[in-house]
Structures are given as C-alpha cells and as structure tokens.
C-alpha cells in the first residue's frame, strides 16, 4: 500500500493550516489552524508508522496530541485573558511585545 495519498492529504491539511495562521486575524481561528497543522503532522506520523510496520510514529502521534491538548489549555487561557482586557480576539492588536 502506498502512503502517497496520506502524505498528500497531510501536505494539503498542513498548507491550509499554515495559510490560516498567516491570513486570519481571529485568534481562535489561528488556533484552530495550528491544530490543523499538528494533526496533519500526526497523520503523516501514523502513515509512516503504518508503512514501516512499527509503532514509533503512532507513539509520537500520541505525544503530539498530549502536548497539543496542554497547549490548547494554555493558549485558550491567554486568548480569554486577552479578550477580557481588550474586548477583542484579534491577534494584530496586542503588539506590546515589540522592541
């Protein structure tokens, strides 16, 4: 079985995610796009694991999911805090972290 289709799908998902991060202003959407990128990576991991016939890739996919979940918690908390202080979820507005 060829992994090509899975890889192709993974690349497409990753590209969509990347473009989403770059063009959308809403923090929630950006966040979802990041999740999309992570999951596209997961897909590739699982596909390769399947291809090589071992479990390494699957294990890593689990790791990624756990880390992603933790990150979502932190990330959403930051977004909520931002929204509370600025009444907006746009990521272009909070630019205090410049020089």
């Amino acid at each position: 079985m060829s992994p090509d289709h899975y890889i192709l799908l993974s690349v497409v998902l990753f590209t969509i995610g990347t473009i989403g991060v770059l063009v959308r202003r809403n923090a929630i959407v950006v966040f979802m796009s990041i999740e999309l990128m992570l999951n596209s990576a997961n897909l590739a991991f699982v596909a390769f694991a399947r291809m090589h016939g071992n479990l390494d890739g699957q294990v890593i996919a689990f790791f990624v999911m756990v880390v992603a979940a933790a990150e979502v918690v932190v990330g959403l908390a930051i977004i909520v805090a931002l929204y509370r202080s600025r009444r907006s979820a746009s990521i272009d507005e909070p630019n205090l972290l410049k020089y």
Binding site: V21, R25, I91, D92, P94, N95, L97, K98, Y99
Partner: protein, 646 residues
C-alpha cells in the same frame, strides 16, 4: 693605568680555607643579630607601654652586642692567622633545584672589624640619642628603628652568601628609609626618604643581577665557594659581575652617579646621620667591593671603573662640602668624599683593599664624632643648621668644641690623628698604582683641609652671628660623654689600629696585600699631602675667620653656585630619569584608559549598537513572526533539497 712601572715588593694572596665550625664562644654568633632584633621587635610591637623604658632597652641590646663582639674579637685573635674564619649555619633558607642559600653566618677578620665598628659606634650613638631625642614623643619608635638598623647591618656583614647579604642590604635600606622619614609630617623628610629608597633600588638592580650572574656562572652564591672558583670564570663574566656589584655599591654608598640621595638624607635626626649616613650603612658598598676582592682580582676593567668612580665622587663630595652652609649637608658632602677615598682605595686592588677598610674604620669614628658634635651644636642652636648663624661657639660649648676639633684634625689628616694614618696609606697606595690617582688623592686632601677648616671656623671661631632668641649651652652628659669617647677615638683609633691592632696583617688573609716600590720615600708623599692640607686649611681660615655674611653672597663663581646646588644632581636626574619616567607613565595611563579599555568598551558598544538596530525587527505583529517562521522553514527545506541534490 693600573700597575704601571713600579716593581712589586711583596704580594700576599688571600688565604682560602674552609670555614671553621662555630664552637665555644662562637656558637652564639647569631646573638649579635638577635639582640638588636629583639630590641626592635619589643619596641615596635610593644606600643606605648614601652615608652618609658624603650630607649634603655634599645641601648642595652646594642651595648650587649658590643660586649659580645669584643669577646669574639679576643677569641678570634687567639686563633692562628689562617684559621680565623668561622662559619655557622642556622637553617635552610632558600633551596630550589640546584640553588641553595642557607641562613648562615660567617665571621672572619673583615666581618669582625665591621661588627666592632657597628656595635661600638652604634652603642655610643644610641646613648647619645637618649639625650638628643629626649623631647621627641616618638623616641621609643626611634630606638626601635635604630635597633632594626643595627640588626640588619650586622646581618649584612655577617652573611656568608650574597643572597643573605641582600637581606641585610635591604634591611639597612628600610631602616634608613624609616629614619630619614622619621619626622615624616615634614614633606621634605618624607620625600627625602622615598628618594633614598628608590635610588638605592637602582643599586639593588645591580646587586640582584650580580647575584644571578654569580649563580649561573658558579652554581652557588656562597662567598667561600664563589671566591674559590673565581679564577676559573672568564674575564668578561667577572667584569660584568664587578660592574654590577659596583652599581650596587654606588647606590648604597652614594657614589657617582647615584649620589643625590645622601644630601637629602640629612632630613633625618642627626644621630641617624651619624650612624647610618656616615659611619656604617653608607660604607656597605666598600664592604661589598672588598668582600668580593676575588672577583675584582680577575678584572682590570671593573677595578679601574671602581677607581674612577671613587675619584669622581671624592672630588664631587669635597666640592659640595666646600660650598654648603647647612652644617649637616656640608658633612654629608664630606662623607661622600671620604667614601670616595675608600672606593678609590678598593679600586686599587690588592694594593688598596686593606687601606680602604682601615680608612673606613677611622672614618666611622671621626665622622660619627663630627655628626654628633654637629648634633650637639644644632641642639644648642634650637635646630638652626645654617653655619652662617653660628660662630664663636667655642666659648659656650667647650666639650663639643674639643671633640669636634679632634675629629676635624682627624679628617684633615693631621698627624698623629686617626685620619692621617688611613688617608696617607690610601694616597701612598694610590701612587703605587697610578700617578693620576695619587695626585687626585692629594688634591682632595687639600680640599678636605679647606672645607673642614671652613666648617670649624664658621661654627666655633669668629664672631657670634646667633639669632636673638638663641642661648647656646653645652649639652647634657648623656650626649657629651659619647662625644668625649669619640673625640679620644678620633685622635687615637688610627694609631691603635695600625700599631697595636696591626690592621694590615689582620686583614691580609681576607683581602690579600700587594706592595709596590715607589720612586720617592714615603715621607715625601706625606709631606706633600700635609702641605696641601695646610694650604687648604689656611685659605679657609683666612676667608672665614673674620666676617661671614649672614646672607650667602650671590655674586659667586659658577663652581660655587653649582656646589651649592649639589652639582645640579637633582636637576640632572630629573631631566634624565624622573621626568621621562613620569611622561611615559602618563602616556601609558592614557593608552590604557583610551586605547586598551577603549577597544574593550568599543566592542561592548558595537554589540549593544547592533542589538539596538536588530531590535527594530520585532514589530509585535504575531502574524509577521509566523510568516518569518514559515519563510525560515521553507528556506531550510530548500537548502536541504539543494544540498541533497548531487
């Protein structure tokens, strides 16, 4: 120049024998140094508690050392002539690889006479100081320093190797520094002390290098071993060692060109000038040269240089002494000149070594006498040192007058006073080697007659030129008794050493002795010298007997002007050494602050500045950062792909 013409009459080489073990009375040799050192430690560490009896302890230790020295002398005389060198090793001091310098003492004929001079004259000066420093709140400290000096000086002459000698050498330098600057709230005294130390350090460079050269040549620094092997070294090596030792001697003994510190050193209390800057420390250079005679025997060039330096300083000192109005500075000039005689004698080689030491001993006595006499006068005149404000003191200070007179006759070389025997021996020896040296010695003797008579006349004779509030009086017995003893010493030391002590054959085993034949009988040289002395003395008497203006006349010839300014030695040193050093120092400070540190701070500023520029890239837009990340990732992929291609 050396060894012209005259036929050799006798030629005795130094006895080279291993040192005898210190036993019996000699086994306490270390006590000589330990006694005054103990005094110094108690007085300097004990603080104010010892104020009441400090001066007594200080004097006692030196007197005890003197008593022990006499006992040693008696025992040393009882031994056979070729077995009078005693060695005592105390402990291992410096030892690394092949280099060893033990803390070991050596008492031989040469050290013995020095020990006697230091302890006996030292005792008298200590006792005198009890009176002289009576009113000084820091008298205890003064005695502590004096004791320290005596201990260091004894170490200098008793050391059995060059490195240990160096310790004594610098120890006396330290004591001299402390005592010149004893009244250090006076900026002039503090400056003089520093000047003395630093100029001596120039000499120390010579001593350090000489010791190193001796070690790499002979593999040892012990006198005994070095002198045994000296003959095997090449002449150029010996010449270098000889010149370096001469540099050391010039520093310590205020010889040309390192003479400038001695006149300033007169800032110290007068007993210090007597002990350190007249009788003992400043003669250490002569000791060093005579001690190293085995080295100088192999190098005519170094020996001749010694001779030349001696002659130059002899005249330099005499000229300065003839023009100074400050009694102590005039005496200091005279000291320079007399040490010049000794160095001249040492520069004659085996012909003169013995007489250098002979003159050193008699000079130690009569110059101490002169300084203490001057101190008595200064005390009486309420610290006035200008001889133009003296005059007619004979009437009020009869003991000082008589003792000073004895010493004056001694230094002028009037028979039968001490100086006659020693100085004439030197002049005679000088003629044996070189006509020029001999004539120089005679002329300087004439100058001695001039400046001493000038000093004597201005101080004790003529009319009183005192200031209104001065009521001179004779000093207390504690001061006059040492003066009396020294006065007698000035008269008879020469004869005693020559006839009773037989100084010449006493020292010969250490220094060797060579006598050359002279064209004229001895009496002829003595007669000529005496005639010159009397001419000088008569001239001075005629000049200063009557009227001495209180203000020094300004319309004087160039030589007098130069002599009043100590032959411009300070100006010369300033232009040649001091100012250039400070200029370089300032330049380097600038270089360090602006140059090297500038580079360092410049680098820091560069990093900081670059950071400040790069900061601008942090726009704060999260999506720009994301774009940069993507761009970076793409770049990495592209690079990877390109690199993988072939």
């Amino acid at each position: 120049m050396i060894g012209t013409g005259a036929a050799v009459m006798t030629d005795t080489a130094p006895v080279v024998a291993p040192l005898a073990e210190a036993t019996g009375v000699f086994s306490y040799l270390w006590l000589l140094i330990a006694l005054p050192l103990f005094g110094a430690a108690v007085l300097l560490l004990g603080g104010r508690r010892t104020n009441r009896w400090g001066h007594l302890l200080g004097s006692t230790t030196v007197v005890l050392a003197a008593v022990y020295a006499v006992i040693l002398l008696v025992n040393l005389m009882a031994r056979p002539e070729d077995d009078r060198a005693i060695g005592q090793t105390l402990f291992e001091w410096v030892f690394v690889g092949g280099f060893t310098a033990p803390a070991a003492l050596q008492l031989d004929q040469l050290s013995m006479v020095f020990v006697l001079l230091i302890t006996i004259v030292g005792s008298l000066i200590h006792i005198y100081s009890i009176g002289y420093m009576d009113h000084d709140p820091d008298r205890r400290k003064f005695f502590g320093f004096l004791n320290l000096f005596v201990a260091a000086m004894l170490l200098l002459v008793l050391a059995d190797n060059y490195l240990l000698l160096y310790v004594g050498w610098e120890g006396v330098g330290l004591a001299s520094y402390l005592l010149i600057g004893f009244w250090q709230w006076k900026p002039s005294a503090a400056a003089a002390a520093k000047k003395a130390f630093v100029m001596n350090r120039v000499g120390d460079v010579g001593l350090s290098l000489a010791i190193m050269l001796i070690f790499i040549t002979f593999g040892t620094v012990t006198f005994d071993e070095v002198f045994t092997e000296a003959g095997q070294a090449s002449e150029s090596t010996l010449t270098w060692i000889g010149l370096l030792l001469l540099l050391a001697a010039a520093g310590k003994s205020a010889q040309f060109p390192l003479q400038a510190w001695l006149l300033d050193a007169m800032e110290g209390p007068t007993p210090v000038s007597a002990l350190i800057h007249a009788a003992t420390m400043v003669t250490a250079g002569v000791y060093l040269i005579v001690r190293s005679n085995a080295i100088y025997d192999g190098t005519i060039f170094a020996l001749t240089t010694v001779l030349v330096i001696g002659v130059i300083t002899m005249f330099l000192g005499a000229i300065i002494a003839s023009a100074k109005d400050d009694i102590k500075k005039s005496l200091a000039g005279s000291t320079m000149s007399q040490i010049g005689y000794m160095v001249l004698a040492a520069g004659l080689g085996p012909v003169g070594y013995v007489f250098a030491i002979f003159h050193l001993l008699t000079h130690g006595v009569f110059k101490a006498n002169l300084f203490l006499g001057a101190g008595s006068v200064i005390h009486a005149m309420k610290d006035q040192q200008d001889m133009r404000r003296y005059g007619a003191l004979r009437a009020v200070m009869i003991i000082t007058f008589l003792s000073f007179a004895s010493a004056t006759l001694a230094i002028m070389g009037i028979p039968p006073f001490s100086g006659f025997w020693s100085k004439d021996s030197i002049i005679h020896a000088a003629f044996e080697v070189s006509l020029v040296a001999g004539i120089s010695g005679m002329l300087a003797a004439g100058l001695t007659g001039f400046y001493m008579t000038r000093m004597f006349t201005m101080t004790f004779l003529g009319k009183a030129r005192w200031e209104d509030d001065q009521h001179p009086h004779e000093s207390k017995p504690v001061m006059t008794i040492p003066l009396i003893i020294l006065g007698i010493g000035s008269a008879f030391t020469g004869m005693a050493l020559l006839f009773w002590g037989d100084i010449v054959s006493w020292l010969t085993p250490v220094t060797g002795l060579q006598e050359n034949e002279l064209p004229l009988p001895t009496i002829a040289y003595e007669g000529m010298t005496l005639a010159l002395v009397l001419i000088g003395a008569g001239w001075a008497y005629a000049m200063y007997r009557r009227d001495v203006p209180i203000e020094a006349p300004q319309d004087v010839n160039i030589l007098t002007k130069a002599a009043r300014n100590s032959m411009y030695d300070d100006a010369i040193n300033d232009v040649l050494v001091v100012q250039p050093t400070y200029s370089v120092s300032r330049a380097f400070v600038g270089l360090d602050n602006k140059g090297i540190d500038g580079v360092v701070n410049g680098l820091a500023a560069l990093v900081g500045g670059t950071g400040a520029k790069l900061r601008r890239w942090q726009t704060g837009f999260a999506r720009s950062y994301a774009l940069a990340m993507v761009g970076g990732a793409v770049l990495v992929v592209v690079v990877l792909a390109v690199v993988r291609l072939p």
